[in-house]
């Protein structure tokens, strides 16, 4: 718990001091939704709007997660983290949690308002926000593996996107599925439970992947 909180606090402090930069994921999400809303008159989104918003949230996450380890790697904090954090598992979770608080969490919180832009009916908004709240941490955890693999190669966003987006498929399907089921008047609890299961699984497994990827990254 200690390692978790230490790392969480440090990374949040860094994010807050970068101010404007921390706003990028939310700004991207809102902007893209705005464009989607503009095009909607020709696209006829309706129920599909929830799915479209989910895809946008996913893109925002991919763009944000790419830089998760870059700065730490460059300034050497990453080697210190790998050397000293006990347990590393908790520290890595803290790192991803801090990242999520600056990307997934505000996106989920903002989503009901953004949903207005694309005419999602009111009863769907809360479910949409809930699916994002449950789904974005999974995206951040899985995305962290890709970011860890790519950190240090000097290649950025597109490569991370290529590596992790296939792995986002289950989260996207259950997340968008829940929102669409709710919009169609059904009961989305099955999908929500699946989202929670995916989250639980990625909290337990993803840090091992991140750990392995970061250690490999120390060798180049």
């Amino acid at each position: 718990m200690n390692a978790f909180l230490t790392q969480l606090r440090r990374d949040l402090a860094i994010s807050f001091r970068h101010g404007a930069e921390a706003m990028n994921p939310i700004a991207f999400f809102a902007l893209a939704a705005f464009l989607l809303g503009l095009g909607q008159s020709t696209l006829r989104l309706d129920e599909a709007a929830a799915g479209a918003l989910w895809v946008l949230a996913l893109f925002a996450n991919v763009l944000a997660v790419e830089g998760l380890f870059g700065r730490d790697r460059e300034d050497g904090s990453l080697e210190q983290l790998l050397l000293h954090a006990k347990p590393l598992f908790a520290a890595l979770l803290g790192k991803v949690a801090a990242h999520w608080m600056m990307s997934g969490l505000p996106i989920a919180a903002l989503s009901p308002f953004v949903a207005l832009l694309v005419d999602v009916p009111p009863d769907g908004m809360l479910v949409l926000a809930l699916t994002l709240l449950l789904g974005t941490p999974t995206l951040a955890l899985v995305g962290a593996i890709g970011a860890a693999l790519v950190a240090g190669t000097g290649r950025g966003g597109l490569l991370v996107a290529l590596l992790v987006m296939p792995l986002y498929v289950p989260t996207l399907l259950f997340g968008a599925g829940a929102a669409m089921t709710a919009l169609a008047g059904g009961d989305p609890s099955a999908e929500l439970l699946w989202l929670a299961a995916l989250l639980a699984a990625s909290i337990t497994l993803a840090p091992f992947g991140v750990d392995a990827a970061l250690r490999v990254g120390q060798e180049y």
Binding site: L149, V169, A213
Partner: protein, 252 residues
């Protein structure tokens, strides 16, 4: 028993040596090619010419003799890559990585072939080439997973470092494959009309199955041959500075 274990241990050790593999695998490639090709010819002629016509699909079902082996192999190759990834990460066995490098493009090609033949088959059967069916969607995701493996290897400048990253990615991918398959399956059952579910196709008649089995075996052998040949090329490439490679080149 002890002898068998000893043999296994020694073989495992030797497999780790590119030089030993290169010297020993020379005959395999030709053998695998010949046996594989023979089986493919037998299976295809049998399947295309002599197996009975399907009552519902007519002759169009015969693409299955290409489609099914390709799809099976596409997945099997990915699993094999992930196993090689574990071997490479745990024992740092260079050969395991070279095998991944050799197999990834083969697996990607097979996945693309499975998708393409599926598309062609879909046109007469489903009335459309592409459906967001569980299997087609999983196959497409598999194709992207292969893209990732290949792209990551090219992004990391030094081959041995790239190898480690690719191994990790392959393992992460293989852990995800069942989840992806399951979620797609679950999702499509909910959101697709059941009429075009591939999974509920009536079981296949033995007279159609035998040529398929022969063909599948042929594909397996032939493609193992392709992978071994690619592996031999990778060995020469990666070990180009070693003395034995130089003398081998000079001897030719």
């Amino acid at each position: 028993m002890g002898k068998a274990m000893e043999w296994l241990r020694r073989t495992f050790h030797r497999m780790g040596s590119p030089r030993w593999f290169f010297a020993g695998s020379r005959g395999w490639v030709l053998g695998l090619y010949l046996v594989g090709a023979a089986l493919i010819v037998v299976g295809s002629v049998w399947g295309l010419g002599f197996a009975p016509t399907d009552r519902l699909q007519g002759d169009s079902y015969r693409i299955l003799y290409v489609h099914v082996p390709a799809a099976h192999l596409a997945e099997a190759v990915y699993v094999a890559i992930a196993i090689a990834g574990v071997v490479h990460l745990v024992w740092r066995m260079k050969m395991a990585d070279l095998a991944i490098a050799a197999a990834a493009p083969v697996g990607m090609t097979l996945t693309a072939a499975a998708l393409a033949t599926g598309y062609i088959w879909g046109i007469p059967t489903w009335g459309t080439g592409w459906v967001w069916d569980a299997r087609t969607t999983s196959m497409l995701v598999l194709l992207f997973l292969y893209f990732g493996l290949i792209a990551l290897r090219q992004a990391v400048p030094r081959p041995e470092r790239a190898a480690l990253a690719v191994s990790v990615l392959a393992i992460v991918g293989v852990v995800n494959i069942p989840v992806i398959k399951y979620s797609v399956d679950w999702f499509t059952t909910l959101h697709q009309p059941a009429s075009i579910r591939l999974g509920e196709r009536p079981s296949i008649d033995p007279s159609m199955l035998w040529p398929l089995a022969v063909n599948a075996l042929g594909y397996y052998l032939f493609l193992v041959g392709v992978v071994v040949a690619a592996l031999r090329a990778k060995i020469i490439e990666r070990e180009s500075k070693a003395d034995w490679v130089r003398s081998w080149v000079q001897a030719r």
